[in-house]
């Protein structure tokens, strides 16, 4: 992983640097115009957020049932990135929604389930920070529950919304827009891997330092 780090860093910087050019050259969406361009970062960040959350859920399950401390460090790093990407999604989304729907927020299934998921991972981090000893296992359970929760929230809000239907904007994607979107998704994925590697490494070193302190006290 350590040798891969500089490669990922350069790739990530390059992809993010080139992304604005691709986005500028992508065709304008007919009704929304310029604001629609938020889409490329918004959707890419959202897709990466789900990858991060999924990573955290799996790593937590491996930690809890396989008792592998390494998995816990990956889970913790992935949870941090989920919250970070969630923040990007939840800020860029309303900016776009204001222009497209005329409101900052709608209680639609996708929005609500993203918010709930973001809150669950915030709770995970809070628990890590303020929970004291033993919070690693507890937070792993929170991550597993959070992963199981999303389909339920999605279904329930969707159902509540179909009882009271509202108009929604479903983006139908042209091939000329798909290219920049996947480029941005790739950039965000690189960023995710980069941050994941960095934070996991940091956790590893912290754990090693703790072990050294303990060994020093024992000797």
């Amino acid at each position: 992983m350590k040798r891969l780090f500089p490669v990922l860093l350069i790739l990530c910087i390059g992809m993010f640097a080139y992304a604005p050019f691709l986005i500028v050259n992508a065709p304008y969406e007919s009704t929304m115009g310029l604001v629609q361009k938020i889409f490329y970062f918004h959707v890419a960040a959202a897709m990466t957020m789900f990858v991060a959350a999924f990573t955290c859920g799996i790593a937590s399950a491996v930690f809890l049932f396989g008792r592998r401390p390494g998995a816990d460090r990956v889970g913790f790093a992935a949870a941090e990135i989920t919250v970070l990407l969630g923040l990007i999604v939840l800020i860029s989304g309303p900016l776009w929604a204001r222009k497209a729907w005329g409101v900052w927020w709608q209680w639609d299934a996708r929005l609500t389930s993203t918010l709930v998921m973001w809150l669950v991972f915030q709770a995970y981090l809070l628990l890590r920070r303020f929970g004291g000893p033993g919070s690693d296992k507890l937070s792993a359970a929170v991550a597993i529950f959070g992963a199981a929760l999303v389909p339920f929230v999605y279904w329930s809000v969707n159902m509540w919304r179909t009882v009271h239907p509202t108009t929604s904007v479903v983006p139908t994607l042209d091939a000329s827009m798909r290219g920049p979107l996947f480029w941005c998704f790739g950039a965000f994925l690189c960023l995710f891997l980069l941050l994941l590697a960095a934070r996991t490494e940091l956790q590893e070193r912290r754990a090693r330092l703790d072990d050294l302190y303990l060994a020093l006290e024992d000797s």
């Binding site: 049932f65 669950v120 709770a123 004291g132 033993g134 199981a148 339920f152």
Partner: protein, 226 residues
Amino acid sequence: MTFLATAALVARKDLLVETRSREVIYTSLLFAISCMLVFAFGLVKEGRVVADAAAAILWITIAFAGTLALGRIFDRERQNETLRALLLAPAPRAAIYVGKLAGVLALLLLVEAIVVPLVVLMFDAPLFRHAGAMLALLLAGSTGYAAVGTLFAAMLARSRSRGALLPVLLYPITVPVIIGGVRGTAALLQPEADMVVARAWLMMLISFDAVFITLSLWTFEPAMTE
């Protein structure tokens, strides 16, 4: 001792402690009533309750009072150092969880037995018109809420700042219970009760219960080890 006997024993112990002190039931009940009072200020307009507000008041009150009860039940275990004794007992952890869940659920249902008639009286909501469906919604909703709540309250019992962390963990995870309960109840409260919608929500609550009880049984054992 069989699994169920162990669970029954744990539940019996909790209820016995509670019937002697009555601490949790009194505090959560009074808290529930104060909750309804606060909602009345926001959701009653010119003497009339805002549409669907009664359903929301009922379920939010249950959720808030439930958090209070959950925190207190496990605080008691921690103060008397009995949680460790319980975990040291040569019994399957899952049985201890089921016993705790039964105890919490019994208390929650007791609180509901008083809150539901109060909502009927104070907010003029015909909750008893479809008593069977309402009871099923309450049972399914409370089971899901208590299942997740018992797991997290038990795990938080030994950690710092548990009072602040329990609601932060519990509310996002039990959002489907709140949505299902509120929408299902609102469907029943309509002038023409919408049984199809209510049944759909009931099914959602039951499947939520099944998934989350399974997950809880599964995670309780590894998460509660020292």
